[in-house]
Symmetry: D2
Subunit: 340 residues, 4 copies
């Protein structure tokens, strides 16, 4: 069966496994204090052109969003996010579980704009009763978004400036950051993200690691963040597991290099869909392709390839997602195309 | 200044204060175990035609919503509510503070229908990823709603049947319940509410009491609810304060009797608004009148009468609210009409 | 039945009820913004010799402790308290419910000393693993304590200095503060408390009010404290209820005046117990008298007077508590003495 | 430097890394639904002689304790644990963070007895005010304890019977379970644990895995446990990472086999300490050896070997811990002994 279900179906890039093997019997200190974590942090700081940044390694995306958002918010604050944001929909209420409301804005293709965020903030502060409401305490965006779309540098800059004006942090969920950074046409670099965001994470789980997300605070870290991580059950005893993975991913540009495979294979597939007249639900340039299929056609395709249900689109159609990744083989893409 | 700002501007019905005086030096047990609480509970059970009901007295509306909803939900569940519901907007995130998401549905004039709730539930359970989402664990409605509208008996019955089908409780926020029960044209009685809801509260604060809301569980009470109340900081040491108030309000039908004053005065005022050509924003038959005013006109009126800002309505208009209550004097209504 | 069960068995001082009556039909703004709240705050600031203090009115003691402690702590912090402190034992886990651990110290007669707190803090910071533990983020003391004992001015000063050294706030639970302030032999005034504490509350519920506690922040208030209060379900719509009560209690020294009745009657009773050879479990000079009774004797006394079980004291004895209050009648004390 | 600091200093048993390699490019479903998780669960059920058990894989110990305890408790309940229990001390308040109090009992060498737990429960239910207190809702024990001691089968049986009597679950923290199961003199098997406990976890992190703990519910699983895991940020996208590790550990008895290395090396070391006249702080038969050292001696030893500070023991002495593990080399033990 050809699998395009998601971008976390395979294990890890082999270089990571090799490094885990090589270093396996070294006796290292725990909780992210070992030399591989140190080295990985140093390389990430360099990749972000941000020598002062603080870097922490957590295990998964929901955990990272929960811990970082909880650490950045005051107790009377919530987080502004797109209605379609991962924190709004697919984290089983992990944000609310920490006591914070997700304050949603209707997105355009997964994105929210400085204009819309400003309107939210102005409406809030103009409301005479706003002290009886949840204060908007930060902004959450994902890049790429849940629909594979990307912010432009100017859009990031505008949102960042707005957050600065209101003195609330901007946090970027980079679960698929690698795929965004090497996408054709993007003008956003890792250094830009470090410049415009107050916190963000570089996704490992979906970009070549077994697990792990690297949280970056470019300028200011919440006090006692390590203890907060522990309190959320998110502190790995064998920090080496994430440290070695990120150290490998950020050696010789491996992270971006393997990301390119996802984009290259997605582009081949995207072009084939277009040529064969499939309707694209949301246009994007990253590794997720959203197609509107007639339900009958969808059932036929299911027999030969695995892809993901996304949402109903009226009575007879469904939006489905085909995802490529660092691990996608071009031969599989060709095989898929041959049956489209 | 004529005041129509809200329905909690005055103290309490005088009979309540008199009873507080008369009983003041009696030595009573604490935490809601005194004889006045017992008597009030008995009278409320009778008024609800529900001899098996459990009744608890809490202090305020947000506190009651927070405590009851938290007690009724499992930890992985959220509460379905109208986007305009009090719990969604004006409780400073008190529900999320307890770890639960408010799952919102776009309302029609403040109300949500069995049809819309069913669609929400079906969409949720049809979503292959729903185990990664917040389970809808109960339904919250307010009656009257935040827009003064009322559910019909049939609408309540439908929502109740749907909740039964999905085995989730139906909870009704009765902050202004008295005003709903005596509204012209309603076919919903207290007994109906006890029949169709799994939990509800009878509002005291906005209907003649200094403070206090009577929570009713008609059939089944969450285990150790008193301890849960204490845990939320909601257990009054001098339970007599709420017991005596509700005992008075439910003696000789006082609760409904004083509610009628709000409706009578609202109806006079509503008619005047209509006759003078004011645009009603949301039609209802209870004690809140929502009017769309030109901003200039609004500023003029502010000099003579106090009313409440509700929301912007385009560039030049504003929705404002005039509220009557158990304490509204007909003379004030007439004085207001004379300046419309 | 003679009742010495507790200090919240009666209603309110009559002057309070009279003022509630007199002001009842005044139309006042809600949520603590009315003129009586303002006046009460001003009088409390004067009584504390602390013109810059912020004052808020909450409804009950557990609610106040929960809200203030949660507002003062960072998320990775807990509150240091005596093992016997109200927050440790009798609040149904209300502090933990907000996510914070109560860090307990074995007390001496209900009190904890600067010496013991310092040892706790030093041990914590000397522990190489303390980043995996709950940071001690504030100190909670009650005055009078749960055993009726009082801190001396020097003891308060020492604890305050220690807290200053560690930059953690000192919070004083004054549920029975009136009884402490007028106790014979105390050298602690309200101004001292405002000087040494970063937050405290002046108890109304147990000292003449129907309900209500006045929270005082002498120097610095947590940001958006009103919203935090709302979030905890602790914001009273009719703020007048607490405002008028505290305005009355702090007019012409009523609060201290009525407190004296509790001390005078307690002293008569205490002397009688001593003269008749009863064993005092914990010596104090306030309104709670702890006596060790043989169980048989206890059962006999129960027939004639109501008092409170405190704790077992071996096989055949029990510690019981007799409490006086602002409402205790000297005739009842005499009647009790006659049957000792 | 010889390292005896802890039992999580090395990576994973090589067979695990080999299996990760071999299976790396297989396309597997996420979130613990892959075939390796299934296989691992099946093997664990067999090892527990408990074919009906539900098994889940989480990432780390604190996370597991937090998630399982939160899932097992009602909101008004806390967890009974030893004062020295991991959940009481070294989890940064992760339990309280979920709203639950840790109800502590003074342990004997890290253990709590059915006798002491019963006394706690009886005292609680005999207290007339217990509805104002945190209900004891479950019992937490660790096996081996934080002091390396072990429960006997009879002790487990007694605690289990007591929990049954009070209808509260018994939960066993098996972070080092392997080391307990193969310890000399223990009469407790995995099947016993499955028989006597309502929930427990088999520790991977400290017994040969890179990360991962296997939670077992022998009879009854909390409803929607997977969603609760997600809500706590504890659900691994690439469930294969834990699945493959536990599948390997439970193939051909590897888990117990590698555990024996820790015990064998610990026994050699323990004997050497005793022969050389060192004072053992807590006697046990597992992989942690607690020694009381004069501070001067401790400083000398630090230059040659790494071990863990445990606690002060008066002015001039310190309790330190030497830990062996599945990875400890006998040559290192001999080298250490040569410098004792």
């Amino acid at each position: 069966m050809l699998s395009f279900v998601n971008d976390y179906s395979e294990g890890a890039h082999e270089k990571i496994l090799e490094r885990l093997m090589e270093t396996n019997r070294e006796s290292l200190s725990g909780y992210g204090t070992d030399k591989y974590c140190d080295s990985a942090k140093e390389k990430i700081r360099a990749a972000c052109s941000c020598p002062e940044a603080d870097v922490y390694f957590l295990v998964g995306g929901t955990q990272t969003n929960q811990t970082v958002i909880d650490a950045l918010l005051n107790q009377y604050e919530g987080v502004i996010a797109a209605e379609t944001g991962h924190v709004s929909v697919h984290e089983a209420g992990a944000i609310e579980y920490t006591g914070h409301k997700v304050l949603t804005i209707p997105p355009k293709e997964g994105k929210i704009s400085a204009f819309d965020i400003r309107r939210y903030l102005e409406t809030f502060y103009n409301d005479a009763n706003h002290e009886h409401m949840v204060f908007p305490g930060m902004v959450y965006i994902s890049h790429p978004t849940e629909y594979g779309t990307l912010y432009s540098k100017q859009e990031l800059e505008e949102i960042s400036a707005l957050c600065g004006e209101y003195e609330i942090p901007l946090y970027l969920d980079g679960a698929r950051l690698g795929y965004g950074l090497v996408s054709e046409g993007t003008d956003v670099t890792l250094a830009d993200i470090a410049k415009y965001c107050d916190a963000f994470y570089i996704g490992g789980t979906k970009v070549g690691a077994l697990c792990g997300e690297a949280v970056v605070f470019p300028r200011k870290t919440p006090a006692h963040f390590m203890t907060i991580v522990k309190q959320h059950g998110a502190l790995l005893a064998k920090g080496r597991l994430t440290g070695i993975q990120f150290d490998t991913l950020f050696t010789d540009g491996l992270y971006l290099e393997i990301s390119k495979n996802a984009i290259r294979t997605a582009n081949i597939l995207r072009k084939a869909f277009e040529e064969k007249g499939y309707e694209i639900a949301v246009k994007n340039s990253t590794n997720q392709i959203f197609i509107i299929l007639e339900n009958e056609k969808m059932e036929q395709m299911k027999e030969k390839a695995a892809f993901d249900f996304w949402e109903q689109a009226g009575e007879n159609h469904t939006v489905v997602r085909f995802a490529t990744s660092w691990a996608t083989r071009e031969s599989d893409v060709k095989a898929l195309i041959s049956i489209l």
